[in-house]
């Protein structure tokens, strides 16, 4: 255990621990990449990292700087194209997907398109990118977010990427593949999940030194607080060592 770590490092470690049993994961640039690399090194060497533009099964020994660059297929067994990768997800062969966003709502719906009205936005964000596809087609998605009231909102300005939409059964009614949907949210304050019955977001565990109250203060909607809220372990010495000396020794991201 160590107390000398950054919030980003903690988020990476929490996300990596979620990958302990994962077989395949759709990886985006940034924290998901580091989490996957850390998980591969410490917990799950068989984890297959998949990048949307065609890299499948990269070693992740060198951290990619972007989702399409050579390190996403360095020593990989497959270098294909985006249609093949997305269709692999559409067939149900990709288990986990990582997502980010400017806003998230209690059902895990994400906004990366606009703040304000679509045709005259206050802030124009990049757009869906592969997020909508990952959120539609993977079995389980994990959102990585900064935990702020303006980001955790009752209703997102624009549903770029489907969470549970407006509640139980809504994904299936819309035509999205059955049994898919949001699984976890990793923030700088806590680890969250979803209530099985209502499909609304639920606190699972707070980070070291973070109270339930602090989480609630930074959440703009009614969050389900179960009777027992766990505490996340801080990064272990092992996790930090591997993260800093092997995963990102050049400190590209951390």
């Amino acid at each position: 255990m160590s107390t000398d770590y950054s919030p980003t490092e903690l988020m990476i470690c929490i996300a990596a621990r979620l990958m302990k049993e994962a077989r395949t994961a759709f990886i985006g640039t940034g924290i998901p990449m580091l989490a996957a690399a850390l998980a591969k090194k410490l917990y799950n060497p068989d984890l297959i990292a998949i990048f949307e533009f065609g890299g499948i099964g990269a070693s992740l020994e060198d951290l990619p700087r972007a989702v399409g660059e050579a390190r996403t297929f360095y020593r990989a067994m497959v270098a294909t194209g985006i249609c093949d990768v997305m269709e692999t997800a559409q067939r149900g062969l990709i288990e986990y997907g990582f997502l980010g966003g400017a806003q998230i709502d209690p059902y895990g719906n994400l906004n990366t398109t606009v703040i304000g009205p679509h045709d005259k936005p206050k802030v124009r964000l990049p757009g869906s990118g592969g997020a909508n596809d990952v959120g539609s087609l993977c079995w389980r998605t994990i959102a990585i977010m900064k935990h702020e009231k303006k980001r955790f909102v009752e209703k997102v300005d624009f549903i770029t990427t489907p969470g549970y939409l407006d509640g139980p059964g809504a994904r299936e009614r819309a035509g999205l593949p059955a049994e898919t949907g949001p699984y976890r949210v990793v923030t700088d304050l806590a680890l969250l999940g979803y209530d099985e019955e209502t499909k609304r977001m639920m606190l699972l565990a707070t980070h070291p030194g973070v109270t339930v109250e602090k989480v609630l203060e930074n959440t703009g909607f009614e969050l389900i607080i179960p009777k027992k809220v766990a505490q996340n372990e801080p990064p272990s010495a092992d996790e930090l060592r591997v993260l800093r000396t092997e995963v990102d020794p050049g400190r590209l991201y951390i």
């Binding site: 949307e52 399409g68 660059e69 249609c83 990118g129 909508n132 539609s136 035509g175």
Partner: protein, 323 residues
């Protein structure tokens, strides 16, 4: 198959596969002609005001930047773009050449938002229709297949669909709802490759993004290539030809054509230059200064490379670790 939902945005480009067939029949020739030309000629001959353009790339990878800079230099107007990209969209946007985009992602991944897109969109200067990355590639795939639409299981239930021009129907075989994406037929496609012969037969190393689909979805197609190779070499490994000659109108030889982006197995991206551009892009004024220096200033790709400097380019090459 009843229509359950229709995206409310207009189709920027109609999926008229009959017109596509006629156009290709009348305008495309499979004759083995030498199509090597410089970027000035390629852009002048094959891109017109009002065209709908697609640029194949992913992140800063394999970007056809030499052709894009020339497009901006020639000031082609009222363009519409398939909106997945970075500098190759930001340059024409900043130059005021773009009226509308089918957008999926314009941004810089971990490096942040596109300031240029923000100014264009937040001022209401451009029309935007929303899609996902896979949806855009699948729309090219439908066009490449020569059919007006393709069914997928993405975009359902979201505002992305609502602000698109897709439709949702009930599949007559299984009863599930599927999204029908309209084919996206490009007036012009622009793709940068590792190597091509003079006729346009092109090979790509590593991942191929959506090059296969986009090449086949294009009425006119401009290929830029790091290297020109012999047709004998193409014939020796015909399974490596990802873009066949009969789709191609122009072959532009452009070493370091992806700069400041990278080219897998060849050279790394120029991070320093990217940061310089992103900084410049923060204000309208500095953006125009950047364009003045790097786009309008050099009169062709060779002058641009001279401006960047041979040492720097060689360093990017050395930094790459190859296969």
């Amino acid at each position: 198959m009843e229509i359950i939902e229709s995206g409310q945005k207009e189709l920027l480009q109609p999926p008229d596969v009959e017109e596509f067939r006629r156009w290709l029949r009348e305008n495309k020739s499979p004759a083995l002609r030498d199509k090597v030309m410089d970027e000035h000629e390629a852009v002048k001959r094959f891109i017109k005001d009002g065209d709908y353009i697609g640029v194949e790339l992913y992140g800063t990878v394999r970007c056809p930047m030499s052709v894009i800079r020339e497009l901006v230099r020639q000031g082609k107007k009222h363009l519409r773009f398939a909106g997945q990209g970075l500098l190759e969209l930001d340059f024409p946007l900043a130059a005021g050449l773009v009226d509308a985009m089918d957008i999926t992602y314009v941004g810089y991944e971990v490096m942040g938002l596109s300031h240029i897109l923000r100014r264009a969109a937040e001022s209401g200067r451009i029309k935007l229709v929303e899609w996902s990355n896979a949806a855009m590639s699948w729309r090219f795939k439908a066009a490449a297949m020569g059919v007006p639409f393709i069914p997928v299981r993405s975009m359902l239930g979201t505002d992305t669909l609502k602000y698109s021009s897709a439709k949702v129907v009930k599949d007559p075989f299984t009863g599930i709802h599927v999204t029908l994406l309209p084919a996206l037929i490009l007036d012009v496609g622009i793709i940068h490759v590792h190597r091509a012969d003079k006729y346009g037969n092109a090979q790509i190393d590593g991942i191929s993004g959506f090059a296969f689909e986009m090449a086949r979805a294009s009425k006119r197609l401009i290929i830029s290539t790091e290297e020109l190779i012999s047709t004998e070499e193409i014939q020796r490994y015909p399974e490596r030809t990802i873009i066949p000659w009969f789709l191609v109108d122009a072959v532009v030889v452009a070493p370091f054509g992806s700069h400041p982006g990278e080219m897998c197995y060849c050279y790394e991206r120029d991070q320093e230059h990217l940061v310089e551009f992103l900084k410049a892009s923060e204000t309208e004024e500095t953006t125009q200064q950047y364009l003045q220096k790097y786009v309008y200033g050099p009169k062709n790709h060779q002058e641009y490379l001279d401006l960047i400097g041979r040492d720097r380019l060689e360093a990017l090459k050395r930094a790459n670790k190859g296969r």
